[in-house]
């Protein structure tokens, strides 16, 4: 699995979209760090500025600024870029001519595919680390405020991405190229906030009980990316997880998608 994992990372960073994602993360890190200044005061404390705007002392500025970063890296645009970069890693595994070659080797099919999947998740995590860690390190250096809330937030965001990529993994199996996995996972990423706010949105349009029931079931089944994204920024600010429901329900969705994809691949006759 490790060989497949390393190979997927190598492929990711050889692809244009992978480089765009990393380039975007580097640009974001440079711009954000350039805007944030730390001014030491006479009383020994440090004042933080975003451009000319005073954000307050480190204890107030850190959650606010890292929260902005987390909202960007967990936002739809970043997810879109990451899916465009990572989903082809799964579909190319199943390319005819290459699939026969890799699956005839002495590594189980599920290990090859899972290695690729984990490679895709690592690509996203790497982009988030590149984008957010430099500022956090500066905070740590200048104010002494530790990085662990950001680390937890980054893991939550990677969890969101992993749930979307698990759907892409399943959608890659019919060997129809990268388009179905990308479209399906993007559709879920777009639909998740709509479903989360269904009581003030969709319920106004859908008035019948059965349609509302259907929407409720969709919400229960699909990943709760919107709530998880909120949980990551709240954790940076308050260091608490308010509800575990989005975590375990998304975890079940992800586990089922991956298990189904691996089982279908195991049974696939080439």
């Amino acid at each position: 699995m490790y060989a497949s994992y390393l190979n997927s990372l190598m492929e990711a960073f050889s692809r244009r979209m992978g480089l765009v994602l990393v380039g975007f993360a580097v640009t974001w890190a440079v711009v954000f760090n350039w805007l944030v200044h730390f001014i030491p005061l006479n009383d020994g404390s440090t004042m933080v500025y975003l451009g000319k705007r005073m954000m307050g002392p480190g204890s107030l500025a850190q959650p606010a600024l890292l929260g902005i970063g987390a909202e960007i890296t967990g936002g739809l645009f970043w997810m879109l870029l990451s899916i465009l970069a990572a989903a082809p890693l799964l579909s190319t595994t199943l390319d005819r001519g290459w699939l026969e070659l890799t699956l005839s080797k002495g590594t189980a099919r599920w290990r090859v595919f899972l290695g690729r999947y984990l490679g895709g998740c690592t690509l996203y995590l790497a982009s988030v680390v590149i984008a957010c860690t430099p500022l956090e390190v500066r905070f740590w250096w200048n104010t002494g405020i530790g990085p662990w809330p950001l680390l937890v937030a980054m893991l939550i965001q990677t969890f969101i991405f992993a749930s979307l990529l698990s759907l892409a993994a399943l959608a890659a199996l019919p060997q129809m190229g990268p388009a179905p996995p990308i479209l399906l996972s993007l559709m879920v990423a777009i639909l998740a906030p709509v479903l989360a706010a269904r009581k003030i949105g969709l319920y106004q349009i859908l008035t019948s009980n059965w349609s509302r029931g259907l929407i409720d079931w969709m919400y229960r089944i699909l990943p709760k990316t919107h709530e998880l994204q909120g949980a990551s920024t709240i954790f940076i600010r308050d260091r608490v997880i308010e509800s575990w429901f989005p975590f375990w329900s998304t975890g079940i969705f992800m586990a089922v998608m991956i298990a189904l994809a691996l089982w279908l691949l195991h049974r696939k006759s080439l």
């Binding site: 492929e11 290459w98 590594t107």
Partner: protein, 291 residues
């Protein structure tokens, strides 16, 4: 869904001895690649079993002892030969220190030693040679080569033949699936012809290319006297230039013909038994003819 069910293979039973080169022949759609995929655990048979190196084809530990060159191999564009070989080796759990030594050796062996460009810039023949190199990476006991000379020029084909012979001398078992009948004839110890999913014939190339019973007797000059003398013995003979095509009843009749010709007198330049070529035999089998 409403299409007709056609079995790709039907009751195929083969036994391949270790240390031999086994040729699998057949027209397109005969089931050759399907058979290979079943043996490699890439496809599941609807019924029946396959055993490979005393193990089930899906066994990953067993697959580490196998090398495979697929028919339509596709290597991702971003890869270079070294990286590709490294990945293939690691998938077969070949230790890193062994790979460091074997990869340059094998690339040299398939004449790709100094090539630095990415695989996407390789010609078909170069890709095929790279595929052969990866198949040998784990020092396999058994090699499956599906159309190994596809896309190669005559020099490349000769190199592959030499490689196969060399591997046989090393004690490897080679399963060769090829359309190139002349190659199969040259390198294989046993040949099976598949047709419409069935084993149509199985024998050694020598058995396939055994004599037809006919001889070609070439003389220095086919004068009327020579032809008349020959006609007394070879009543069914057929002259083509200075060569008489003749199917004697037995060796005595052939000797009688030669004695007659010498008594004319005429110089006999050569006597050759006419043999089936594998291609003739193959065409006969796949078109439903009798051998």
């Amino acid at each position: 869904m409403l299409g007709k069910y056609v079995p790709a293979l039907n009751g195929v039973s083969l036994r391949v001895e270790r240390g031999t080169v086994f040729g699998l022949l057949g027209p397109n759609g005969a089931g050759k690649t399907t058979l290979l995929k079943i043996l490699l655990g890439l496809a599941q048979p609807t019924s029946g079993t396959a055993r490979l190196l005393d193990s089930h084809p899906g066994n990953t530990a067993m697959r580490r002892k196998i090398g495979y060159l697929p028919e339509s191999m596709r290597i991702p564009d971003y890869m270079r030969a070294n990286r590709f070989m490294w990945y293939m080796g690691r998938l077969n759990r070949v230790p890193a220190n062994v790979l460091k030594k074997r990869i340059p050796e094998l690339l040299e062996r398939v004449s790709l030693g100094g090539v630095k460009k990415p695989v996407k810039a390789y010609s078909k023949g170069m890709q095929q040679r790279l595929g052969l190199a990866q198949a040998m990476l784990n020092d396999p006991e058994l090699l499956f080569l599906d159309e190994p000379t596809d896309g190669l020029d005559p020099v490349g084909r000769k190199e592959v033949r030499d490689l196969v012979q060399h591997l046989r001398h090393e004690g490897k078992t080679i399963f060769l699936n090829s359309h190139m009948l002349s190659e199969v004839e040259l390198v294989c110890d046993h040949v099976v012809i598949l047709n419409q999913g069935l084993v149509a014939r199985a024998a050694t190339p020598e058995e396939f290319t055994r004599g037809t019973g006919e001889y070609q007797v070439r003389v220095a000059e086919a004068s009327d006297a020579v032809r008349a003398a020959a006609a007394t013995i070879a009543t069914t003979g057929d002259w083509r230039g200075t060569t008489l095509h003749f199917k004697p009843r037995d060796r005595a009749q052939l000797n009688a013909l030669l004695d007659k010709l010498r008594s004319v007198p005429v110089e006999i330049e050569s006597i050759e038994p006419v043999k089936f070529s594998l291609e003739q035999f193959f065409m006969q089998v796949v078109s439903g003819g009798n051998s």
